[in-house]
């Protein structure tokens, strides 16, 4: 109250019943602010303003002549062996309850487990590894559990593996079938006869499966690496074999051979063994070899498009360059007014394009080298050489040398001195807006925008 005095708010609040009434109405038409409509809808939100389905449009049931009642009645099921009586709701029509077996009784299926007689056992089914008692037990369990061998194995009194149990069951059943059949031809089509259970194969399969499943992540990665390495080696070997270029470096061949030998033994090799020769391949393969292998792989194709060939060669040439460098090459091409992909890719055009790209790469590399050298040089100059008088003079001379050198090569109106020094430190690639629009003597068109410091 005092607070309200202080704030100057009215003492008497709005009449409460009015507030309460207006609020639910308002709330039902507006969602609270601060959360989006969709989020509010997740919480149940606001009910739709209009009912989405008109109740009167719902399908009306045709008026039925029959009198339907629902009654709680007892029933029996043929699937049960005992006489248990259960109750359920039954739809009674005109006082007549439905007849017939329990509707779900038909789903009570079981497996037809063949039971043998004792004489049959003596005649056909004896086995050194199994006693009659065990075999009887096995068949009892099979019938009881519908051939669910996992359960049967659990409940089998003596310790036997699932595969052993399966083997015994299937071979016994097969023998009985064949023995009982009037002629072998008749049972030849029976699945038990046609496809006998192969114990060794099954054991092996399960063992391999569990091995694969239980591989640790580390092992998985190692396997994948080895496979990828082997694939790469096989491919490069194919290309190298097809290559008629004599300048394919020999060490790579040797490296490939040893790698191949290492891959031979199978998946028991350690990846390091494979990677070592692979590592020697990488540095020894120069760009020339890259080109050679590209040419070789192109020649292996019976037919290809010129544009495809160019793409491959460009890729091979830029294989040593990073993404940023490639982007700079493309930027340079654009500045020179050259299409990134030639519009008329003839043999000559593609060759020129490729050479141009290589030259731009060289140019960018040289620029970078220059940048580094200059950075080194400037730190050299600024370094602590104040002690020796000779060096001070030397550094002075070096700076002068720079200053006079640069204007010689750029002949379009650069002010020597501070400006130049500053520019040298900020070495940028081509493609920036030029500060000197006029070109010297207009000797040739300059579609390329360049900074003086680029030179």
């Amino acid at each position: 109250m005092d607070a309200k005095d202080i704030l100057g708010l009215p003492k008497t609040p709005l009449p409460i019943p009015q507030e309460k009434k207006s609020r639910p109405q308002k709330d039902s038409q507006r969602k609270p602010d601060g959360i989006s409509r969709e989020v509010y809808a997740l919480t149940g939100g606001v009910a739709p303003l209009m009912p989405s389905i008109d109740v009167s449009q719902l399908k009306r049931r045709p008026p039925s002549d029959e009198k339907i009642t629902w009654q709680w009645l007892p029933f029996t099921s043929s699937a049960r062996k005992d006489d248990l009586q259960l109750y359920h709701w039954v739809r009674v029509v005109n006082g007549v309850p439905p007849t017939g077996d329990y509707s779900f009784a038909k789903y009570n299926k079981s497996v037809d487990v063949i039971r043998y007689t004792d004489e049959e056992y003596e005649k056909y089914l004896t086995d050194p590894k199994w006693t009659k008692e065990e075999t009887d037990q096995l068949f009892d369990l099979c019938e009881r559990f519908d051939l669910r061998f996992i359960i049967i194995a659990d409940r089998f009194p003596t310790h036997r593996t699932v595969e052993e149990l399966k083997d015994r069951y299937y071979s016994v059943s097969r023998a009985i079938l064949v023995a009982r059949a009037p002629s072998p031809g008749e049972v030849a089509g029976h699945p038990l006869v046609k496809e006998p259970y192969n114990v060794t194969q099954e054991t092996e399969r399960k063992r391999a499966l569990s091995m694969v499943l239980s591989q640790t992540k580390h092992q998985e990665r190692k396997d994948a690496e080895v496979l990828a390495e082997a694939k790469r080696i096989a491919e490069s070997r194919m290309a190298a074999r097809a290559a008629e270029e004599p300048d394919l470096p020999v060490p790579s061949d040797v490296g490939l051979e040893s790698a191949e030998g290492a891959v031979g033994p199978g998946d028991t090799i350690s990846p390091s063994n494979v990677q070592a020769p692979a590592a020697t391949i990488a540095p020894s393969t120069s760009v020339i070899a890259d080109n050679a292998s590209t040419l070789a792989s192109l020649r292996m194709l019976r037919v290809y498009l010129r544009t495809y060939a160019l793409e491959q060669m460009v890729q091979a040439a830029s294989s040593s360059a990073g993404l940023r460098t490639i982007k700079r090459v493309e930027q340079t091409l654009q500045d020179l007014g050259v299409n990134l992909k030639p519009k008329v890719p003839t043999k000559a055009v593609c060759a020129e394009h490729l050479e141009l790209r290589k030259e731009i790469l060289t140019l960018l590399n040289l620029q970078k080298q220059l940048q580094y050298k200059e950075a080194e040089g400037s730190s050299f100059r600024d370094g602590s050489y104040g002690d020796m008088p000779g060096t001070a003079k030397r550094s002075q001379r070096a700076a002068d040398q720079d200053r006079t050198f640069v204007p010689d090569t750029i002949s379009f109106g650069v002010i020597p001195g501070d400006r130049v020094v500053k520019r040298e430190q900020k070495r940028k690639g081509p493609g920036r807006t030029s500060e000197t629009p006029s070109s010297p003597a207009g000797a040739h068109k300059r579609p390329r925008k360049m900074k003086a410091s680029d030179l």
Binding site: R306, T332, G337, L370, K373, F405
Partner: protein, 273 residues
């Protein structure tokens, strides 16, 4: 592929008979049948320059919701020569909304016309004759119906043309193919190396039911674009010149800097060049 000596037949006149393109070859000394097509010409590249693309006309008054444009997709020789000697058939893969979207064109001119309203990517698969190559080539082209500048209503007279130039390269052609197309106008064949001997044949005339296979007087030929390598070569040459000049300059600068960073000597003997 059986390769035995067969007759060459040159038919003149426009008689609509079945295409008979068989070549007389000197029988190779090898016994095995396959050797004929498998004997390849080393170090010689046969090249077929092609242009492929679409031309689309707006139908104007005759346009309906579902068919507003009439367009043609085609593969033609870059100089409008007949490609039938090299290409056996072309399969155009259209949008699945078309009836039978896989259209096969078995004789030149390799083209297909349709009506529609939508732009989509057309798959173009080029299949070659058996002595040329058993692998086919896949190209893709985006059908363009609407012009770049959307100002004003579309004209029914001026179509939207999108063409791409490319060259099909056969790095080591079979002797049979090489012999066949030595003097063919659609094919670029380098000069034979010295000492090479192949029977020089008269180019086989194409007698297919469509009439001529070249597109020189094609109804749409007025819209065909001209692809001249001269412009591009010029541009490339000038660009290379510029780059080379800069490289020279940079190399000079680098050598200067390298010269400067000599080990410390007494100042008097230090010489800057």
């Amino acid at each position: 592929m059986p390769q035995t000596a067969i007759e060459a037949q040159v038919e003149d006149g426009g008689s609509a008979s079945k295409p008979q393109r068989i070549i007389k070859l000197s029988k190779t000394t090898d016994d095995s049948d396959k050797k004929g097509t498998n004997k390849r010409v080393k170090d010689i590249e046969v090249c077929v320059p092609i242009v492929y693309g679409t031309i689309a006309f707006y139908l104007g008054r005759k346009a309906s919701e579902s068919q507003s444009h009439k367009w043609t997709v085609y593969v033609r020789g870059a100089t409008n020569e007949d490609l039938g000697a090299v290409i056996k058939h072309v399969v155009f893969q259209l949008h699945p909304s078309f009836n039978n979207p896989t259209r096969i064109v078995e004789a030149p001119p390799f083209e297909l016309s349709e009506c529609g309203w939508g732009e989509f990517e057309i798959g173009i698969s080029i299949f070659f004759h058996s002595d040329v190559c058993d692998k086919h080539l896949d190209l893709y082209h985006m059908l363009k119906l609407y012009p770049e500048d959307e100002s004003g209503p579309q004209s029914t007279k001026k179509p939207v043309v999108m063409e791409s130039y490319n060259e099909i390269v056969f790095p080591d052609p079979s002797e049979c193919f090489f012999a066949r197309v030595q003097n063919h106008p659609a094919v670029v064949v380098p000069r034979m190396p010295a000492g090479f001997s192949l029977p020089v044949l008269a180019p086989v005339e194409n007698t297919n039911e469509k009439g001529r296979g070249d597109t020189k007087d094609h109804p749409l030929s007025q819209w065909f674009l001209n692809f001249s390598e001269a412009d591009e070569l010029l541009k490339l040459a000038s660009a290379r010149q510029q780059v080379q000049a800069h490289i020279v300059k940079l190399r000079r600068e680098l050598s200067v800097i390298d010269g400067m960073s000599q080990p410390l000597k007494p100042a008097s003997s230090y010489e800057c060049t």
